[in-house]
């Protein structure tokens, strides 16, 4: 993100990674970033998403190589385990850094900046 004086902080919102910024996917990635791995049931309970929605979000995250999805059977019951990939860990860390930078910029931003940009 550039640090020019004429910049308005909200302009940088468009630069945030939209794949992660979506609330449901952000919830999934936040949950996975605070544990080693979680199963499908836990993620569904935690995010409140329907089975189909969660599955669709996980597919998108897996396609982007942000999560690793492991499917197995336990006592003839399918178990889907999801964990954050190394790429996912780096990407979400960068996302939080960007968001923090945005908040810092917004804190520094005051009415004078509005006049200078207007």
């Amino acid at each position: 993100m550039s640090d020019s004086d004429s910049d308005v902080p909200f302009e940088h919102l468009a630069e945030l990674d939209k794949l992660i910024h979506e609330p449901a996917r952000l919830s999934i990635l936040t949950a996975l970033s605070s544990c080693g791995q979680a199963d499908f049931t836990f993620l569904q309970r935690l995010t409140g998403l329907t089975r189909g929605n969660l599955s669709s979000h996980l597919s998108r995250l897996e396609e982007a190589s942000l999560v690793d999805v492991d499917k197995s059977f336990e006592d003839k019951t399918p178990v889907t385990t999801v964990s954050l990939s190394e790429n996912g860990r780096r990407t979400i860390a960068r996302y939080w850094d960007d968001l923090q930078a945005l908040r810092d910029e917004a804190d520094r931003w005051d009415a004078d900046d509005v006049e200078s940009t207007g």
Binding site: T30, C35, T41
Partner: protein, 226 residues
Amino acid sequence: MSSAEARASDPPRSPDQVWFFTQYYHQLKGLCYAPAGGLLLLGVLGGLLVRPQMLIYGAPLGAFALLVLTSPWVWYMHRRYESTYGRVRNREGPGSPLGTPNVFSAWTFVPLLTGAFCWIALITFYIPQHTPLGDNHFLVFFPGWLLIVASLPAPLPHLRWTYATTGALLFLAPLLPLITTNMVLVQAVNYGLLGAVLLGVGLYNHRLLVSTLGPIHDTREVSADE
């Protein structure tokens, strides 16, 4: 509409809440340890009524025995929680969680660790030498320490206050021998408080988990896998 369908329409939770419930999922399984707390509290109250002197040496042994005896129940409830709410495996190795409130910084942990070391030195060396009681109440200290640590990133004010207050009580109770020589009172307060906190916080945590993740008897989602 079933509870699962109702939850499916809930808006996504804040990242703080998502992080907290994932990070402390195992500790939030309150029904695993609440019964042990209830039995301990009953044991202490019963001991006070029947043979108070027995508490001096019997309380720590009784508390330890209860932990061992209730382990099958802990295992059963752990399985029950996992079959309903799913499994979470904690991350191996060091590294702080991402995108979380910065409460585990050096500014927080250095004073906490210093306080804990001073406290351990006090109950390990000073109290046994200056009071007639040999019990250093580590069984009381550790839950208190865990509660204080959990209170720092807790995403809701009432959660933070509940953990911090109960943690502080467990932290302070072992220092009672510094102001009284009545060892029955010291043991009754320490282990009675430990039992009450385990029972109270256990039920509180269970309620928190149920209100966030849904009812525990709703096992329809056991095989909610795709």
